[in-house]
């Protein structure tokens, strides 16, 4: 990752224009060619430096729901449990964390009712209790990480 990659990441975390040639516009801003921007973006996505690039949809605004949930996965079965849980398309993110509750995942569903349904399915599949922690209030979502 060089300075141009960092410029790309920092610029694109802020947003992306909606116009006929948006890559060209961003490329001009950071003084590279449109093709170089596209090639570098492909690489940043391929290597996982960027986990995604595109519109970020707001589940609740679309009538859907989000929730944060956690389980206590026994260490010996951790990988297979992660695999079972990740297989659910409703699981948007999943993180291993240092705690008795050692696996934390975000569920995104099209309707609020489906959150409980997915949780029941996960409990059935893993035999573990799912601690559901849907947000009561959102105070802040944002932050740009300086590359």
């Amino acid at each position: 990752m060089d300075k141009i990659d960092r410029d790309i990441i920092n610029t694109l975390q802020d947003g992306f224009p909606i116009c006929p040639s948006p890559y060209k516009q961003v490329a001009q801003h950071i003084n590279i060619t449109e093709q170089e921007l596209i090639t570098r973006l492909e690489k940043l996505l391929e290597t996982g430096v960027l986990s995604r690039f595109g519109p970020m949809y707001h589940a609740e605004q679309m009538g859907g729901a989000l929730s944060l949930a956690a389980i206590k996965a026994p260490a010996k079965d951790f990988a297979s449990i992660a695999e079972s849980i990740n297989a659910f398309p409703e699981v948007a993110h999943n993180y291993a964390r240092e705690h008795a509750l050692n696996m934390w995942f975000v569920l995104a569903t099209e309707t609020p009712e489906q959150i409980q349904q997915v949780i029941s399915k996960i409990e059935e599949k893993t035999g573990l209790t799912v601690y559901n922690m849907p947000k009561i209030q959102e105070y802040f979502v944002g932050l740009k990480l300086q590359a």
Binding site: G15, F53, P55, A92
Partner: protein
């Protein structure tokens, strides 16, 4: 959101096309004009259906090795005022009020922090603790050790209503 908005969403939730004219590419996939794609994306952004169109970096790959979910047990009466103050800190990426699961999970205020160094993370936690003061009974920090999945929101095409 109507059927065409849903099509746009389905076509873009994995990402925006990496073509010189990405909205034109989407328009061809969906069977509408590029102008309509752009107009609809703008409207969805204004309505908050789209938070923003942007790149999401992997924290670890940018050198942010210390990503902690800090969780705090604070008075229910003060939580809204405190949550707003935490959310305003420049190192907090997400801040929420969430339910407790007593007795084993007493924490109701969640704030995600990110730092390149362990000392930096410790300093951030100290700042939050100072800000919460006597409103906080106890806290823990759960560092993430591995990203097991990070695909973002996915809604399956089969659920797109006609």
């Amino acid at each position: 959101m109507d059927k065409i908005d849903r099509k746009i969403m389905t076509a873009t939730q994995a990402g925006l096309p990496l073509t010189a004219e990405p909205y034109q590419t989407l328009a061809e996939q969906i069977g509408i004009s590029a102008d309509e794609v752009m107009q609809r994306l703008k409207t969805m952004q204004e309505n908050g259906i789209i938070r923003r169109i942007a790149a999401v970096p992997n924290h670890y790959k940018l050198g942010y090795q210390h990503n902690g979910m800090t969780v705090w047990d604070v008075d229910d009466q003060s939580i809204d005022a405190l949550g707003k103050q935490l959310g305003a800190l420049d190192f907090v990426s997400h801040c929420y009020h969430r339910p407790r699961h007593l007795p084993e999970w007493p924490y109701n205020l969640f704030a995600m922090i990110h730092s390149k160094t362990a000392a930096g993370a410790a300093e951030q936690i100290k700042q939050i603790a100072a800000l919460l003061g006597s409103h906080c009974r106890s806290h823990e920090v759960l560092y993430s050790t591995k990203i097991l999945k990070k695909t973002g929101l996915r809604i399956s095409a089969k659920n797109v209503s006609p």
